[in-house]
């Protein structure tokens, strides 16, 4: 059994419940623990980078859609100053999303060196 983001067992995603309007968006949204489980599977299959991505995803699973999209936008070239990226990293720390925060800080350092900051 796998739990959805809402906590509902994925086996409960039935047409019957659908017809009673009992299913909501979070019932079909992946749970961070599931992503952590998939990360371990990826690790066992010789892809630690995929595992790392799935662990960053587990962190972002808690972050609302609009914010995820805004973070992507902030990391595009010449969109953010060093301070803005640090603010973003701190926000991520707060979720907590330390792996994503680390990625943003790493990007900030590279962007500074490569003139990719705003």
């Amino acid at each position: 059994m796998t739990r959805a983001f809402s906590g509902r067992d994925s086996d409960e995603l039935t047409l019957d419940r659908l017809s009673r309007d009992e299913l909501g968006a979070d019932d079909v949204r992946i749970h961070p623990e599931t992503l952590e489980h998939q990360a371990r599977v990826a690790e066992r299959h010789a892809n630690p980078q995929l595992a790392a991505n799935l662990r960053r995803a587990a962190e972002l699973a808690l972050v609302p859609e609009d914010e995820v999209m805004a973070m992507y936008e902030a990391l595009r070239p010449h969109r953010s100053s060093a301070e803005e990226l640090e603010t973003l990293a701190s926000t991520l720390d707060g979720y907590p999303a330390p792996l994503c925060a680390a990625l943003v800080r790493e990007a900030a350092e590279v962007y500074a060196r490569r003139s990719l900051l705003r």
Binding site: V28, Q38, A46, N53, L54, R76, L116
Partner: protein, 735 residues
């Protein structure tokens, strides 16, 4: 004449290192190097850490397994290249070592592989055991009903991923819904994508309108990356964003992209692509679509460019990623050349042989025409069957396709109506069901689609509402399938490398269906059911089919008589028939009724003042013996031999069996007037006059390919009628 060939419509370029118009090697490609200090990469491919660009930084920090780097980098290129090919070296060992290689190293290694070796490497190194294929489903109008019908068709033909896109960006959410509905009507477990600008695609993915993403472009130089308005780090976040909502994602790269954007920095296409593939692994993408893609024609224009595109795919596999192997954008006007480019991948099998087989008409393909399009599906099915390989497609029964198209278009209409997105007429449904392409739809109002798309976007509607609408409108099975795909997002098993769903919703991936090729007798082989599917193309015929065809031409105009006796009239010519004629064989390969052929022969003889007799020779189907038997029975000593398939000759009683006076060998193209001429000439031979020899008709078409199946079946019918115990019998032809 050579200039007229279609291959000369293609552009061919001289190598130009400055422009990056070079496939495998450039003098500006760095020499492979790797220096690790305290577990950190401090130099890679000749560049010190402080000089790393954004690609180098991400690759060096995340993409290199430093625990095997020393071992891997110390290997001779040729030693590692041999491991790619050697079936005794397990895939896992290649994957382990390649994880420690730099981009320049891997590029040099795969550049050593010759075409047959690339094919072997692909067979062994692809991630998933079972090959698959992906289709483009788009149209000029973004018409939802046609998209739904075409998605159903694509699913019926066996495609497991459907990629749509839009001519009008804002239509994207509508296309995603329409294709999702059409796919769900036809099959469980179809992955659906809508390729648009990165941010919009992410939004649709997160909202559950699509089940995978592919338009996440990587480039081999930092400048081109930035021109594409991204960095390796923004892409890394994108990758995590998709996975955070359970959406499968692969990145896109491929030779020629940097050249097209004027930013190749003098490097070879293979080296730049190697950087992309390293980056894909480094950011944690599960797979890569490469092998030219938008730059396929650029790569194809230079020497060894096609080989470089295949080498790109092999790099992806060696880095333990899903390979969606190009054969996407049309790279040649020549059917020969595009087949040549694709064939090795079809033979080897890849995770997706085409990263977009245009399942729709060329003019409706909004990615541009594909390397393979709807009109090529029969060719693809024939190639699969010829080689006994699985290119992901199957024959679809036309009645079933018609039923699915109707149901898909109706379901889409009903869903749009129920969700308040648009109201389509019954006429529109009928047009979409029967349409070959969007040109058959007339001139629908483009604002309808745009309005529907805006309504989907602004209401935040997702696949859960689509499932609900399907259910409310009475499409329980399709509703269940959309819901299952949503359930799959919760499970997340399809986030593993090279995942697809089979029609029972089982995930097939590197984890659940790993490629276990280790030489002959191992690896993927179609199971009996799949092999039967590959073999059973709709055009295949057997003897029984032909027997039924022939029986439709049965005639009462040939009547059997008594045993034949020796004739004495010096003007008598005998026409000998093979044993099946008038029993099971009634029609020649040229489509004439045998009785009509006989009438022409008889008329020709009559014009020469000869008498004629028709005799069925029951003891042999050999045309020479049939003709010779007829000649020996004839008072004149001249006979005509006629096989049911239409082959005919003139014989004389003193000739050896295999000789003849005239022979019509090309049965499929012999006309009535030629048979009459044969009768005339036989008459002249009988009279001792000089015949005007008939010219055998000639064609440069593949007549043998077209007719040999029928010939074999006709011969089988004739052979079944051979009976040596029977006399030759006179046959009356009703005139």
């Amino acid at each position: 004449m050579m200039d007229q060939q279609r291959v000369n419509l293609d552009g061919f370029a001289h190598e130009d290192v400055g422009l990056g118009l070079v496939a495998l090697h450039s003098p500006h490609d760095p020499a492979p190097s790797l220096v690790v200090a305290d577990g950190l990469v401090v130099e890679m491919d000749g560049r010190a850490a402080e000089d790393f660009d954004a690609l180098d930084s991400l690759i060096a920090t995340h993409g290199i397994d430093v625990s095997v780097a020393e071992e891997a980098m110390a290997l001779e290129d040729v030693a590692l290249a041999r491991m790619f090919v050697d079936p005794a070296v397990p895939r896992a060992e290649v994957v382990r070592l390649v994880a420690g290689t730099t981009p320049a190293k891997l590029a040099q290694v795969v550049a050593l592989l010759r075409p047959a070796e690339l094919t072997m490497a692909m067979t062994k190194l692809r991630a998933r055991r079972t090959p698959s294929n992906q289709a483009h489903v788009t149209n000029l109008l973004d018409d939802p009903l046609l998209l739904a019908a075409d998605a159903a068709t694509a699913a019926a033909y066996g495609f497991r991923e459907l990629e749509t896109t839009v001519p009008v960006l804002a239509d994207a959410p509508s296309n995603a819904v329409a294709v999702t509905v059409g796919a769900a009507v036809a099959s469980a477990g179809i992955l659906v994508q809508c390729s648009v600008e990165e941010a919009m695609e992410l939004e649709m993915g997160m909202r559950g309108l699509v089940s995978y993403a592919e338009t996440v472009s990587l480039y081999g130089t930092e400048s081109v990356f930035v021109d594409g308005d991204d960095t390796p780090y923004s892409k890394a976040l994108l990758a995590a964003g998709y996975a955070s909502r359970g959406v499968k994602m692969r990145v896109t790269s491929g030779a020629g992209a940097e050249v097209l954007m004027g930013g190749a920095e003098g490097c070879s296409m293979l080296y730049l692509e190697s950087r992309c593939v390293s980056l894909a692994r480094a950011i944690g993408a599960q797979g890569v679509q490469n092998g030219g893609i938008d730059g396929a024609s650029v790569a194809g224009a230079v020497p060894r460019g096609v080989r470089a595109m295949m080498a790109e795919n092999v790099m992806v596999m060696a880095r333990n990623l899903e390979a969606c192997t190009g054969n996407d954008a049309l790279m040649s006007e020549s059917d020969v050349r595009r087949t040549s480019r694709t064939l090795p991948m079809l033979l080897a099998g890849t995770d997706f042989v085409c990263s977009g087989f245009g399942s729709i008409q060329r003019y409706d393909n909004m990615f541009g025409p594909s390397q393979w399009n709807a009109e090529d599906i029969d060719d693809w099915l024939a190639m699969q069957r010829d080689w006994g390989v699985d290119g992901g497609l199957r024959t679809a029964d036309p009645d079933e396709v018609g039923r699915l198209r109707r149901r898909a278009a109706e379901a889409c209409r009903d869903v749009y109506r129920w969700l308040g997105l648009a109201d389509f007429t019954d006429d529109h449904v009928e047009l979409a069901v029967d349409a070959v392409g969007s040109k058959d739809l007339g001139d629908p109002d483009p604002m309808v689609v745009l309005g529907a798309a805006q309504a989907i976007r602004s209401s935040g509607l997702g696949s859960l509402q689509v499932a609900r609408a399907l259910q409310e409108c009475g499409y329980d099975e399709a509703a269940g399938r959309v819901l299952e795909m949503l359930g799959a997002r919760v499970q997340g098993d399809h986030l593993q490398t090279a995942a697809i769903f089979d029609e029972q919703m089982q995930v097939m991936s590197l984890v659940t269906d790993p490629n276990d090729y280790a030489g002959p007798g191992t690896g993927y082989e179609p199971d009996d059911r799949r092999q039967a599917e590959i073999d059973a193309i709709r055009q295949a015929r057997g003897v029984e089919d032909l027997r039924v065809d022939q029986a439709q031409w049965r005639s009462d105009d040939l009547k059997g008589g008594g045993p034949s006796v020796q004739g004495s009239d010096p003007r008598e010519v005998v026409i000998g028939l093979s044993p099946g004629v008038g029993r099971t064989v009634w029609r020649t390969l040229s489509g004439l009724a045998v009785v009509d052929v006989l009438r022409e022969l008889l008329a020709g003889l009559e014009e020469e003042g000869c008498t004629a007799r028709v005799v069925r020779v029951n003891s042999t189907l050999d045309l020479g013996m049939v003709g010779l038997t007829a000649a020996r029975l004839a008072g004149s000593g001249i006979g005509i031999g006629l096989q049911g398939k239409g082959t005919a000759l003139i014989h004389r009683r003193d000739l050896p069996p295999l000789a003849n006076l005239e022979l019509y060998s090309m049965a499929p193209i012999i006309t009535s007037s030629l048979y009459r001429l044969l009768g005339t000439n036989a008459g002249r031979h009988a009279k001792g006059a000089t015949p005007v020899p008939a010219r055998n008709p000639y064609t440069d078409e593949a007549v043998e390919a077209r007719y040999h199946t029928s010939v074999i079946a006709l011969v089988a019918l004739e052979r079944a009628c051979v009976d040596r115990s029977l006399d030759n019998e006179d046959i009356e032809v009703v005139r």
